[in-house]
């Protein structure tokens, strides 16, 4: 849940600086502005950070509702696993774009990618536990 909250926070920040362009605070590392204004930062005008935020919100909702709703309790782990898998694959592609195409790193984007990957591994473990 902590990883999803961190992921959601960075995704919302990236969405904010995309919608209201401003010089992002980048911790003196990489170039957040260049990455977040690049042509890869939106699909048909929609900031991709929104997709990330939606994924984290869904993951959080599943985690919060698992103990309350039997339906989510039964299908939550597999849904989280699928969502985290799609998120990890797309994050891997975006990291490749940063490193090999733009030659610039955005710490927020990397943080989100790491969070999604960690969530994926945890979801595999949780799904395995739920199956046992």
């Amino acid at each position: 849940m902590i990883f999803a909250l961190i992921g959601l926070t960075v995704s919302l920040y990236l969405t904010y600086i995309k919608v209201f362009p401003s010089a992002p605070f980048c911790f003196g590392v990489g170039d957040c502005g260049a990455v977040n204004t690049s042509v890869y930062s939106a699909i048909h005008g929609i900031p991709i950070a929104i997709f990330g935020a939606l994924a984290y919100v869904t993951l959080l909702a599943c985690l919060l509702l698992e103990s309350r709703l039997p339906l989510v309790n039964e299908w939550g782990p597999i849904a989280e696993f699928g969502l985290a898998l799609a998120g990890t694959l797309y994050s891997a592609y975006l990291t490749y774009i940063e490193v090999a195409v733009l030659f610039k790193i955005c710490p927020y984007c990397v943080t989100s990618a790491v969070m999604m990957t960690l969530i994926f591994f945890i979801s595999v473990f949780r799904f395995y536990q739920a199956e046992k």
């Binding site: 502005g33 005008g45 991709i48 898998l85 799609a86 694959l89 797309y90 733009l102």
Partner: protein, 236 residues
């Protein structure tokens, strides 16, 4: 008892089969979703500014104006360089209307790739090569306008191959011919030829402006450019 156990095993087997199908389906769905997002990101040219075609005075490839003009002004430029864009936006049109359209000077555009060295990318070079492919169809100047209109921060992907092809299509170029030229890199040598010219002229930055071979200091100040050209014109 045995029958009941058999029935239980069968039920378990069916349940695990259903589970396996669901897991397989979820993995497949996740891969498809990620694939669609990746395809959209990589193949979409995204939004870009379109430019209206302009009437250029005596266009001749990457040059404008009479071939026998007494004064030749050469610009060495990089499509990703912000000061080159400033030159394009604030100086070029004035210079064209005052000196080129009146037949006083010949203006030549030359490539000088400097920004790729800063970014580690190749967008300046690919943009220059694309402009050469547009030039092959006699459309260098409109394509050059398109590039400067769509300049963004250095190495941001604004001159990705997908977008450079989309720029050509939006200007109404023959896309089959353009894409074939651009994909093959067959005119890359022309960019290198310009760079060699810049090196032989000992140029170090962009935009660099030469008036009859003499370097103009601060070419983004129109009064300085004017004075350099007027001086050269006065000598003839």
């Amino acid at each position: 008892m045995a029958k009941k156990q058999f029935s239980g095993n069968k039920q378990n087997k069916k349940k695990s089969q259903t589970r396996a199908i669901i897991i397989g389906g979820v993995i497949l769905l996740a891969i498809i979703v990620a694939g669609i997002l990746i395809m959209q990101s990589s193949s979409s040219a995204g939004e870009f500014i379109t430019v209206a075609k302009q009437t250029w005075p005596q266009p001749d490839g990457k040059a404008l104006g009479p071939a026998n003009a007494a004064v030749v002004v050469q610009e060495f430029s990089d499509f990703q360089c912000p000061y080159c864009r400033q030159f394009h936006d604030t100086i070029l049109n004035k210079l064209i209307s005052q000196y080129v359209a009146t037949g006083k000077i010949r203006f030549e555009y030359h490539h000088f790739i400097v920004i790729d060295g800063n970014t580690g990318g190749n967008e300046s070079r690919r943009a220059a090569e694309a402009s050469e492919c547009a030039n092959e169809q006699g459309q260098f100047w409109d394509y050059h306008n398109m590039l400067f209109a769509n300049q963004k921060s250095e190495g941001s992907g604004t001159f990705s191959d997908v977008r450079l092809r989309a720029f050509a299509a939006s200007l109404g170029l023959d896309t089959t011919k353009f894409n074939s030229c651009f994909n093959s890199g067959k005119l890359a040598a022309l960019v290198v030829k310009d760079e060699n010219l810049a090196t032989s002229d000992k140029l170090q930055a962009t935009p660099a402006l030469l008036v009859n071979g003499v370097l103009v200091q601060n070419p983004i100040d129109y009064t300085i450019v004017q004075s350099a050209i007027d001086k050269a014109l006065g000598q003839h």
